[in-house]
């Protein structure tokens, strides 16, 4: 069928118009939300979708929401029926088994109408502080059923043709902690949806629905073509890799994450056969979230800079076994669903390391090392909940060292919370925020460093929930590079009460207990003995690498005081290898 080709300028303006609309939704949500996880950490995503729930454009924020926002819309469409939407309707959904995420990620969806026709949807998803789980904030690593993780909504109508559904609002308000914050964030999401709706309609009225639809088709086709071309460049073949997670927090250890990739021409198949069965503890992911993570990895190795639309993902086929931690079935818990996804991304990269060696770095710290601190703020008497993702080291690249302290692959434009903001908002003093010497994997190119971030509770006894993964399978190196230090948390380091924690739920702590988060580094790339002595010396001067590690790992004898190199000893150390 021959199609009339749109002129490239109009096409470009329409495409950018949709991207700008999503960006505007993002800014609106970020600027009016009540919750640092949204306004500082940017743990949310917004987008515009066509009437089938296909992505038209999505604003940056959390890449892991890259596929499952559309799944959420498709679920609402299935539940409600395309003919039953009215202008001014708003729905919410956080159902793990259809939209993929844990219950704290709430998606707010509105249909968009133009001249009485349903033309598409806007959606925003944001991490709410609390959903009424057994412990404040959810994320409990000891949960065994989803019912412990909070309220689950599927396709629930918040607004009926512009009329607020008071009953639902009351249910929400009465069943979540910190309800002012939650309701404020809901308000911000509703407003962001309205912004998206207005922009969507503006574009339609400017160019006419026919032109816009045609432009959308063309955008999707273009996305598909670009992705196909990127796959075609990769050598055909079967590739596989495996890693494992420490445990599910409850009953199962050493959970395999296994990936088999087949590249044939311009098609790619990704199969998770051999990965862990569904777990007792909450490290399960809904299928939609799994697809999302695979899309993130796929995009990173194919078209990292192109604006996202559904077309980019047409050439991949995804296979996930029925009984699998990556295909959660009711009532499996999934509060910590993000953890396995980051390892899944890294395993996909590892599988492709031989196929496209110049495009794959060594493994990164692969966790967000999240901490949840809660209790009663002694300054106000009100309950508080502080949630924060932590950055860590990234893997060394084929031509340079890995980056120090950046956020994990599943989280993208996600930021830390400034120390000054934390100390204003919560009863804590941050005692240290510093790079963790020797945490990067040694290599010709060194892996990036993780950090120390030390929290001291003030004038009250808080509780701690945390997950620090991959202690038994630390970030790996590539092509002779070595593994990095792993993620961990230590309470009261260097004292008699020192305690190492990898996972805990609502653990009571005391005033004055120092909580030291220590994130892992990235793996090294190439043989560390090939690293030029001058670069090792510079690392010691800067304190990225200690003199001992320079000797042990890099075969460089260096005086810790003067940083002078012992040339003979160095030659000897390097000869031995």
């Amino acid at each position: 069928m021959s199609k009339q080709v749109l002129d490239p300028v109009t096409l470009e303006i329409i495409q950018h118009g949709f991207v700008a609309a999503a960006d505007e939704m993002k800014i609106n949500l970020m600027r009016t939300s009540y919750n640092p996880i949204i306004y500082e950490v940017l743990d949310f995503s917004v987008g515009l979708f066509d009437s089938q729930g296909q992505i038209i454009s999505q604003a940056s924020g959390l890449p892991i929401f890259l596929g499952n926002l559309g799944e959420a819309i498709k679920t609402v469409i299935r539940d409600i029926g395309l003919d039953n939407f009215a202008e001014g309707d708003i729905y919410m959904i956080n159902d793990t088994y259809t939209s993929g995420t844990h219950l704290n990620d709430m998606t707010v969806i509105s249909p968009v109408f133009y001249q009485k026709d349903l033309v598409g949807f806007t959606a925003s998803r944001a991490h709410w502080l609390d959903m009424g789980s057994k412990d404040p904030g959810g994320w409990s690593p000891d949960a065994t059923e989803i019912y412990q993780e909070g309220l689950r909504f599927r396709s629930i109508q918040l607004y009926d043709a512009g009329e607020e559904n008071n009953s639902v609002m009351r249910i929400l308000k009465d069943n979540v902690r910190m309800s002012e914050s939650v309701m404020g964030d809901l308000r911000a999401q509703i407003a962001a949806g309205r912004t998206g709706e207005r922009r969507f309609q503006h574009i339609l009225s400017k160019f006419g629905p026919e032109t816009v639809l045609e432009a959308l088709d063309e955008m999707m086709a273009e996305g598909e073509k670009t992705a196909e071309a990127a796959i075609a460049e990769m050598p055909d073949g079967n590739y596989q890799a495996e890693a494992f997670l420490d445990d599910d927090g409850v009953a199962m250890d050493n959970l395999p994450v296994k990936v088999q990739i087949t590249i044939a021409g311009d098609r790619m198949t990704i199969d998770l056969e051999g990965s862990s069965p569904q777990t007792t503890g909450p490290v399960n992911c809904g299928l939609a979230a799994t697809i999302s993570a695979i899309r993130v990895a796929f995009k990173a190795v194919t078209t990292p800079f192109a604006p996202v639309n559904e077309g980019h993902f047409a050439p991949i086929e995804i296979k996930v076994p029925e009984d699998c931690m990556f295909n959660a079935k009711k009532p499996a818990p999934s509060g910590v669903y993000g953890l396995p996804l980051m390892t899944l991304c890294d395993v996909i990269f590892k599988a492709l390391a031989d196929a496209i060696p110049d495009r794959i770095p060594a493994s990164h710290y692969a966790d967000v090392c999240a901490i949840f601190l809660f209790g009663e703020d002694p300054r106000t008497g009100n309950p508080y909940l502080h949630v924060e993702p932590e950055g860590g080291g990234w893997g060394a690249c084929p031509n340079r060292d890995g980056e120090n302290v950046m956020i994990a692959i599943a989280d993208g434009d996600t930021r830390n919370i400034p120390v000054e903001v934390i100390e204003n908002r919560y009863p804590y003093r941050i005692e240290r925020y510093a790079l963790r010497t020797d945490s990067g994997g040694p290599g010709r190119y060194r892996g990036g460093l993780g950090h120390y971030r030390d929290y001291l509770p003030l004038d009250h006894d808080p509780s701690l929930t945390t997950t620090q993964e991959r202690s038994k399978c630390p970030p790996w190196g590539l092509h002779g590079g070595q593994e990095a230090d792993y993620n961990t948390l230590i309470v009261n380091p260097g004292t008699d009460q020192e305690e190492q924690i990898q996972k805990c739920a609502a653990k009571p702590l005391q005033e004055g207990d120092l909580i030291s988060v220590r994130t892992g580094g990235g793996g090294g790339y190439g043989n560390p003995h090939d690293r030029p002595v001058a670069e090792v010396k510079a690392d010691v001067i800067k304190g990225y690498v200690s003199a001992e590690a320079a000797r042990e790992d890099y075969g460089v004898a260096i005086d810790p005081e003067t940083c002078e190199i012992d040339r003979d000893k160095t030659a000897e150390l390097r000869d031995m290898s």
Partner: protein
């Protein structure tokens, strides 16, 4: 001759522009000299010397400069150290740990300007109220000072946690540094930014410290030279946010002037918009080295405190400018696949384009314009410079046309097409990519090369109207010469709105007023000459981002107005974000005071309409000019802009020459001279 005048100077990458404004008549005299990068003063001196003005009659001297920006971009700043709170020297390296290109596995964060071994920690600590928990340990500072000297550190940035609430520790460190090592430049964060977010504040402080030695040396040198030539008043520098500050302040806070030149142009364009009743303006400034685009939408020129320069956060107010390496001096070259590329390298002022005949061997955009008959070789810079057309023709054949198998005209036209496409992308980034169509805007085109390309840009972007403002070749300099002094002050006052005592507000506002008075009196301005505007930053309790609500009434009636502030905030919130929460508790975050003072005595005046027909003496003859839309040369009438009168109309194709720039009017366009002397281009009916 002794007539009072004001002088605006804009030092660009290629040319230094001068605008002498007669204080009595408002008449402007323009000049342009090649920028002398090795010693910028030489270019300035040449311009002042060649004028018939005497600096002792100058009542106001203001300038815009890219010296700080260039020092940063070219990493030519001083050798640096950071002093910060114990436990936090890596804040500057860790940043916000986000990945802007979130699917890019090879994303790199901005590299700190200060290497880790020169980031020092001292024992000191404030809490979130600004109260001292651990006093500053001065012995440690002394120990650091020793190391600064050993390592020959030139400039130090000091940034402590929570110093935005209490600058005492930072100020004490500064005093110690000034006492023990006065030769080292010092910048403390609290003198630049009084807002939280330690990484952004550290980055801003570090950039200031980094460019300070270069900027200070330069300002010292030129103010001495001005003084030697009889200039008796304060000398001003344009800020990145628009508005002037004294050179003294600019020496201390050069980061405030980092986008000095581009801001001058943006603000001047917005002023033209006001004169013409145009709310939507694209400001298009194309000089020798770069093209700067900025936007005024619905009357508001975007200013932000969340700017980034090469991903480095800068927490001071700045006009949003999109800048690309595209100018008259941009070099045309062939890549390994024999594709024609233009820029971003520029031939600069030395050696300049081939046609300048100063030894340049690289064909530039200016050479292409000359070869296409858009510039008259004998009338460049008012005839002060003649252009060597033969040489440009020979080199374009050899380097571009022959290897590409194109005619000379095709090669030259190709250069123009490539550079125009690049600039169109810059305009798109600010309009289309934000969902705004350029056809809602008026293009204000200036800079030495802007008017040459404006009509074609407008055609490509469907922009209906183009304005070539008065003094278009030196428009930024004109804007700067007519600017007001401006300073913005703020203080954090973080508490529930309901709990705010009006007496406390008054006390803080008095403090801000005092600060404004002090800073302005250091610039020779008395309190009675100050115009102040007050505002409060509010948010709903629990939110982070604030909305700035103006406080417009009389200070005596502040109490009454204060009671209305909450509902005013609801209105503003609703207007900006489309929702509000009337009943919810609100929080006060900052009080703000913006102080301005008129220093310019000149107002641009309207002149009488003198009929459609241009005066005979304005007509210069014909040029054979190539137009891409027609793909052929057409005879174009040439006019001398300075002799055109308000009301004159000209039909394209035409070439309008003025000192410092040349405008091309395409065949489908016409122009009218408005009552201020601006050229207004529009499509023929």
């Amino acid at each position: 001759m002794s007539k009072k005048f004001q002088l605006g100077i804009d030092i660009g990458g290629t040319f230094t522009d001068f605008v002498f404004i007669d204080e009595a008549t408002g008449e402007v005299q323009l000049d342009k000299t090649p920028t002398t990068p090795e010693n910028l003063w030489e270019g300035i001196a040449a311009g002042i010397k060649s004028s018939d003005y005497d600096l002792s009659d100058c009542s106001l001297l203001a300038h815009g400069t890219t010296i700080g920006l260039n020092a940063f971009l070219e990493r030519k700043g001083g050798k640096m150290a950071l002093i910060t709170t114990r436990g936090f020297r890596d804040v500057y390296e860790i940043g916000r740990h986000n990945r802007v290109e979130m699917y890019d596995l090879f994303y790199q964060k901005p590299k700190p300007l200060i290497s880790r071994e020169y980031r020092f920690e001292v024992t000191e600590r404030l809490d979130a109220n600004g109260d001292v928990i651990e006093p500053l340990v001065e012995e440690e500072v002394l120990e650091i000072i020793k190391q600064l000297k050993e390592n020959e550190i030139e400039s130090v940035a000091v940034c402590f946690l929570h110093s935005y609430l209490n600058p005492d520790h930072e100020e004490r460190v500064r005093m110690m540094l000034e006492k023990h090592c006065p030769e080292i430049f010092t910048t403390i964060s609290s003198e630049l930014v009084r807002e939280w977010r330690e990484y952004e504040r550290t980055s801003t402080t570090a950039i200031n410290a980094y460019i300070k030695p270069v900027v200070k040396n330069f300002l010292d040198q030129i103010s001495q030279e001005f003084e030697n030539r009889g200039y008796q008043h304060s000398f001003y520098v344009n800020q990145s946010s628009g508005g002037l500050i004294s050179a003294n302040l600019a020496r201390e806070k050069p980061v405030n002037t980092i986008m000095s030149g581009p801001a001058g142009g943006a603000v001047a364009s917005a002023k033209i918009g006001e004169l013409l009743d145009e709310d939507n303006i694209i400001s298009f400034d194309m000089g020798g080295t770069s093209c700067d685009v900025s936007l005024t939408y619905e009357g508001i020129t975007s200013v932000t405190v969340e700017s980034k320069i090469e991903e480095h956060p800068v927490m001071v107010p700045m006009v949003e400018v999109h800048s690309i390496g595209a100018g008259g001096g941009s070099i045309a070259w062939l890549n390994e696949n024999s594709r024609l590329k233009v820029g971003p390298q520029s031939a600069g002022a030395e050696p300049g384009p081939v046609c300048y005949d100063r030894g340049g061997q690289d064909i530039t955009v200016t050479d292409a314009n000359l070869l296409l008959g858009r510039l008259d070789p004998d009338r460049f810079l008012g005839g002060r410079m003649s252009l060597n057309q033969e040489k440009a023709a020979a080199i374009i054949d050899k380097k571009l046309a022959d290897p590409l198998g194109l005619s000379q005209t095709e090669a030259a036209a190709g250069i123009i097409k490539v550079i125009n496409t690049k600039m169109a992308h810059a305009i798109r980034a600010l309009t289309v990519e934000r969902g705004l169509h350029p056809n809602e805007f008026t293009l204000v085109a200036f800079g030495g090369a802007g008017p040459l390309h404006a009509c074609e840009m407008a055609e490509e972007m469907e922009i209906p109207r183009v304005v070539i403002p008065v003094a278009s070749g030196q428009f930024s300099a004109l804007g700067i010469g007519l600017s007001e002094l401006r300073q913005d002050f703020s203080r954090p006052v973080i508490r529930p709105l309901k709990a705010v005592e009006i007496a406390d507000v008054n006390q803080v506002l008095d403090g801000l007023q005092q600060e404004a008075n002090d800073i302005f009196s250091r610039q020779g301005i008395g309190p009675e000459e100050l115009n102040t505007e007050l505002a409060a930053d509010l948010r709903y309790l629990g939110q982070e981002y604030t909305v700035t609500v103006p406080i417009t009434g009389d200070r005596d009636e502040l109490k009454a107005e204060w009671q209305e502030l909450g509902s005013k905030f609801d209105d503003f919130h609703h207007r900006i974000y489309g929702h509000s929460a009337e009943g919810e508790p609100k929080e006060l975050i900052n009080l703000r005071l913006k102080a301005t003072a008129e220093v310019s005595q000149v107002k641009l005046e309207k002149h009488q309409d003198e009929g459609e027909k241009p005066p005979a003496e304005a007509y210069l003859g014909e040029l054979e000019t190539y137009f891409a839309g027609e793909d052929r040369y057409l005879a174009s009438n040439c006019y001398r802009r300075e002799l055109l009168k308000p009301g004159n109309r000209i039909s394209g194709p035409a070439i309008i020459e003025e000192f410092g720039s040349t405008a091309v009017l395409s065949p489908d366009w016409q122009l009218e001279v408005d009552s201020f002397g601006n050229l207004i281009f529009s499509r023929k009916e």
